[in-house]
């Protein structure tokens, strides 16, 4: 190419990622589903579909519906449970030459703890993403609907899981709160290495003709370009209050969206809903991002982060 390329490697905790554009949990299966469409080793990190201690059947259909520029889902963390996941997926995941982040969730703090303990091995996974914010499951031990709406429980769970693993710990937060920066601070106090935000915005789709909710679960979580402006604000709000890195999520479709999240304070990002639209779309997002860096003569990614 002749001219020097910007170094796009980033470091979170003690791990180095080849680039800051990752795949969001629940939108990339366990990676396997997308192998046919793209070279998954180019991806900065793959975050698996959320794993829970025991198997979860998932919610009643319909589970998914399109809304203006968005996708409303109520999958309900369908998965086979930690043991089966380990048995069926570990040898495959370990062979992939990029960072693997396992998303875990639970109904109680104890479940998070046990799940992380069970899945932690000497050098695997590279990180856990603690999903404290799935809108489609219920929780015990809090008056809140979502764990990540409760700063005290959030901090407690992060502390608990940190003790159980040497892997990097990332907390995934919900935007369905009064002040997301308060929860981000709780996560930082709990010792998380980074915070990923945002999970979906809770919403409802209604069919006027049949006078009923479209989703079997009535309420779902909204993702896609529709939520990007709100997600950017959430990232910026948190950036002002915390020192740990932020991984921005919410409606990233193109390379320029990655830049927008970085300008608001994100060190890395996750591509989510876009994977459903273009299962081979990663290459273009990465290319557009690199092209921007070149065009704007950006030498260090950190010079972008939190600029606005």
């Amino acid at each position: 190419m002749g001219c020097a390329m910007t170094d796009i490697k980033i470091k979170i905790g003690n791990k180095e990622f080849k680039n800051p554009i990752w795949m969001a949990s629940g939108t990339f299966g366990y990676g396997k589903e997308f192998e046919d469409f793209l070279d998954i080793e180019k991806i900065g990190a793959i975050i698996t579909k959320t794993v829970t201690l025991t198997a979860r059947e998932g919610n009643k259909p319909p589970r998914i519906v399109e809304t203006p520029a968005g996708l409303l889902n109520s999958i309900g963390l369908e998965n086979k449970g930690a043991d089966k996941f380990k048995e069926e997926m570990y040898s495959y995941l370990k062979k992939i030459n990029t960072k693997i982040i396992i998303s875990v969730a639970g109904g109680t703090g104890k479940e998070y703890e046990e799940c992380v303990e069970k899945l932690s091995e000497k050098n695997f996974p590279d990180a856990f993403e603690i999903n404290l914010s799935c809108p489609n499951v219920t929780h015990e031990g809090t008056k809140y609907q979502l764990i990540a709406q409760d700063p005290i429980l959030t901090e407690k769970i992060i502390k608990m899981v940190k003790k159980k693993t040497k892997s990097v710990v990332i907390a995934k937060l919900t935007p369905n709160v009064t002040d997301v920066s308060e929860i981000a601070r709780a996560v930082e106090n709990g010792g998380a290495d980074a915070v990923a935000m945002v999970n979906t915005y809770m919403g409802i789709a209604v069919c006027a003709e049949e006078q009923k909710a479209v989703l079997g679960n009535v309420v779902g979580g909204l993702s896609g370009p529709a939520i990007k402006p709100m997600a950017l604000k959430a990232v910026r709000d948190a950036y002002k209050k915390i020192k740990i890195p932020i991984i921005g999520i919410g409606g990233i479709m193109r390379g320029m969206d990655v830049v927008e999240f970085m300008l608001c304070g994100a060190t890395a990002v996750q591509v989510g809903t876009a994977n459903f639209v273009n299962p081979d779309g990663y290459d273009l997002i990465l290319k557009e991002f690199k092209d921007y860096l070149k065009r704007k003569n950006i030498k260090k990614l950190s010079s972008l982060v939190g600029k606005i």
Partner: protein, 273 residues
């Protein structure tokens, strides 16, 4: 390893053929070569912006040389946008996807009963052509709300199949439900005192709205007919990643996109539908 590509198809035609129904011909050699009866594609309805956002699943209607025909009903913003696309434009297609109808278990002396409600005929037409090519006798039961909504009647007749029509308002064929006509057909046979082996005489293929599918299943159970049903569920990805198109089966939830869209009626957990 990259093995699958997202296909580019050229729109050869996109015409209204009935109220709210459009037929689109897409040119892409690979797709036309690979698509089997009962499979579907995920098609991107536009590239300009993010709304409509998702690809939409459409059943393959039939293929001819390098062309794949899709027949779709305008039901929302996605299909409405697709109906505006012009001849010569390029569309992005993911597919063919799904399992398709299974003809391997069928003995050639069984008559195929095809039950279609509304645009349920879409994936069944290609199957009918294939069955006829194998010399299998076919009886088609097609139902719709009214005469204008009866799709591909002439083309069905040209396949040499028997065609029975039912419309809810009685503007064509028998007034009532398509299942009424189906039961009548089966009972004729029953009258000859051969009810016992009626299931050995037929195989059934079904696609249509959920209430119709449910009543066809009851008929299948009653007469013990092996039945395959093509289901249409909301889908986001089409490749088994989003887990959105779940359908309850006797073995728990399965995905319509990957495990289906065609299921044996005995696989489905009917009281959960």
């Amino acid at each position: 390893m990259k093995t699958k590509k997202i296909l580019q198809g050229k729109i050869i035609s996109n015409k209204k053929i009935a109220p709210d129904h459009f037929k689109m011909a897409i040119q892409n050699e690979w797709l036309a070569l690979k698509a089997r009866p009962g499979q579907f594609v995920m098609i991107k309805v536009q590239e300009k912006n993010n709304d409509p956002l998702l690809r939409i699943p459409l059943g393959v209607h039939f293929t001819e040389e390098d062309r794949t025909y899709l027949l779709y009903k305008v039901v929302g913003p996605g299909t409405a946008t697709l109906s505006q696309r012009q001849k010569g434009e390029i569309v992005s297609i993911l597919g063919p996807l799904g399992n398709g109808f299974d003809l391997s278990k069928n003995s050639p002396d069984k008559e195929a009963l095809i039950v279609a409600g509304g645009h349920g005929i879409v994936p069944l037409y290609m199957l009918i052509k294939e069955l006829r090519k194998k010399g299998i006798k076919v009886a088609v039961f097609e139902g719709a709300c009214s005469k204008e909504h009866i799709l591909c009647e002439n083309r069905l007749k040209q396949t040499g199949s028997k065609v029975f029509i039912a419309t809810e308002n009685g503007t064509q064929g028998k007034k009532g439900r398509v299942t009424d006509v189906l039961v009548e057909y089966l009972k004729k046979y029953e009258k000859n005192g051969k009810r016992k082996n009626i299931g050995e005489k037929y195989i059934m293929f079904v696609c249509g709205p959920k209430p119709m599918i449910k009543s066809v299943n009851k008929i299948a159970e009653k007469f013990k007919i092996n039945t395959q049903i093509s289901f249409a569920e909301y889908m986001a990805c089409g490749i088994g990643a989003c887990l959105g198109c779940a359908i309850m089966t006797v073995d728990g939830y399965k995905m319509t996109c990957k495990d289906g869209p065609v299921f044996d009626s005995k696989e489905i957990k009917w009281d959960a539908q």
